[in-house]
Symmetry: C2
Subunit: 357 residues, 2 copies
């Protein structure tokens, strides 16, 4: 089975490579007489599979093993701070923050994620609600639901659970969320405000904000450091590369078209991975003493587990922990902090709405 998967991946890579090889992209972009495609083509990032089964030869970190950044305890701290601020807010203005999640379809993973978010809201005193829509609902029905939530004064955060069924246009739907309630930070107005010096978005995407939070809490200096972000999704890669720039790091963004990914990564003081390939980043990708934030959460088949899988990051932890100076584990690293950041974003929104400092 594993062999089959590797072959399948190789075939996909080959097709993507042939279909979108640099020269074929170029020839279709560079027609000197027609209109040029200034924006480029949207191409999928297809990464080669990787495993940690053969440990790499690494220049082991001279000092002690890396500090393991404890996401669970940091998440608990953030939650407790959010809970205490909500109590104060209730006392002062008699209101609590409200989060609404729009959930379309029956994907079991989405339902699990939403339940986790609801439970977390409950723990800190945020009132939460889920609006469930059928998998074959129309775009207009989603627009209608989102518009109503935009208008509801008791709702401060509106979140459309992704991915949406294929027949719905994700971009269009996310555009309808009021940027002032866009606790996921995926509205282009918020992403643009994050990108542009001198501006402040209403919200920063939770996972990206959590990466910076972990660096700051761990006392990692960011300004003037070389940072490599591997992956470029709107959840992590893109916003965290923008955030690191706003903290004056020198940022390089590595993706599946990068030819010297390992070499570039080895130059970095700070590495943030958002790939989705278990164990892709090996120990010999890291400079001794680098700080590693692993945003990958990959389910790997594991017959020894009750549920049939275990979670692993993009980084080969066993190798990296001997090279890095600090690293987040998976699970127990970025994941819990990301959930707590959603609570913090929702609280911030309510504070703005009620003018409560």
């Amino acid at each position: 089975m594993r062999g089959d998967r590797v072959i399948l991946k190789a075939v996909i890579n080959n097709i993507v490579f042939r279909a979108f090889s640099s020269s074929s992209i170029q020839s279709s972009l560079s027609n000197q007489f027609g209109r040029l495609k200034h924006l480029g083509f949207d191409l999928p990032d297809v990464w080669p599979p990787a495993t940690c089964s053969q440990p790499s030869i690494t220049p082991y970190f001279d000092g002690p093993s890396a500090e393991i950044i404890d996401g669970k305890s940091i998440a608990a701290k953030i939650k407790s701070q959010v809970a205490s601020e909500i109590l104060k807010m209730k006392d002062a203005v008699g209101k609590q923050p409200g989060l609404a999640v729009v959930l379309v379809g029956e994907r079991s993973d989405s339902h699990t994620f939403v339940r986790t978010k609801m439970k977390a809201c409950d723990e800190v005193g945020i009132s939460s609600s889920v609006i469930e829509l059928h998998a074959d609902c129309t775009e207009d029905e989603v627009f209608h639901v989102v518009s109503n939530l935009n208008k509801d004064p008791l709702i401060h955060g509106v979140l459309v659970q992704l991915p949406l069924p294929k027949h719905l246009d994700e971009e269009k739907i996310l555009n309808v969320v009021n940027p002032e309630k866009d606790v996921d930070g995926f509205h282009p107005f918020n992403m643009g405000s994050l990108a542009m010096k001198g501006r402040e978005p209403f919200f920063i995407p939770c996972a990206a904000k959590s990466c910076i939070d972990l660096l700051l809490r761990s006392g990692v200096e960011i300004a003037g450091k070389n940072a490599v972000v591997i992956g470029r999704s709107k959840l992590v890669g893109l916003p965290v590369s923008l955030l690191l720039q706003r903290h004056h790091a020198t940022v390089s963004v590595v993706h599946s078209f990068t030819k010297n990914a390992q070499e570039l990564t080895r130059e970095a003081d700070i590495i943030i991975t958002d790939v989705g390939v278990p164990n892709m980043i090996r120990g010999n990708w890291l400079r001794s003493g680098a700080v590693v934030i692993d945003a990958g959460t990959n389910a790997v088949k594991d017959p020894s587990r009750k549920n049939g899988f275990h979670l692993t990051g993009d980084v080969c932890f066993e190798e990296a922990v001997r090279v890095a100076s600090a690293i987040t584990p998976v699970p127990g690293g970025l994941g819990p902090v990301t959930i707590s950041m959603l609570l913090s974003n929702t609280l911030d929104s309510a504070k703005r709405a009620y003018d409560f400092v």
Copy 2:
């Protein structure tokens, strides 16, 4: 005088360095108990001065001297294409594109830029108008003017000439421009849409779009290449780094806090500079065969000239031309293309408004 300027710059650098040195930034960001400043501090990019007076020892490019990318002739081509499309549009729908520029205050450079834009509009058949406001006008007056232009069906492009007088909030004013008429591409909605894969902004900032245009027209392969963008303004550095990523280059953004700027730049296949320091990028910053787009337009005192100055780029052209495989000169490189791109953006807007393909 020159010596004074160097000393003054050194003093400024030193103050900025002391005020915002990495550790002081860090300590004010990483308070574990208060709220963290996830967005970082906005700090000015203060670059050290540089000159081309002592030629550097460079590994001269083995082949012939670099191709000089001729911005003037490319701009002429774009203008002629825009003009011919406008003629077709007039024939088909009886309308022409309209551009309005809001000009606040008396800065002579701004007035010159605006005149150049108006003249270019005239040449291709775009109707243009300037709304002049007094230097001490209020924000509300500017809002009022911009709102009226947003509503005017004969205006397809609204441009607020920057910089604005200090008492006006640039961000607030740019937010008021309808993103569908924002031909400068500075609205966060457009910048966010440029950043986010799968989205298409209404407009891409003219200078950044011109950089990509020059690369494409020169047949430069972008996908999979290493690109270094030096500088991070919203005019060039930021949007061009996002655009290069959408073309699947591996992009590193270098700024004044970068410690190994020269070393990083030497690794790049494509270099785009947006610094504002004459001749900062020396020949020994470049890899043999690199492609260089110079977005700097720096006025350097020159008593031998009638007007008392000459224009020079961020790149030491005399050195770079012997190392690079292609390079834009200053003047006559990016500048003229940027103006023609404004015309092209305005035409695109009118085409959308009249549903004219």
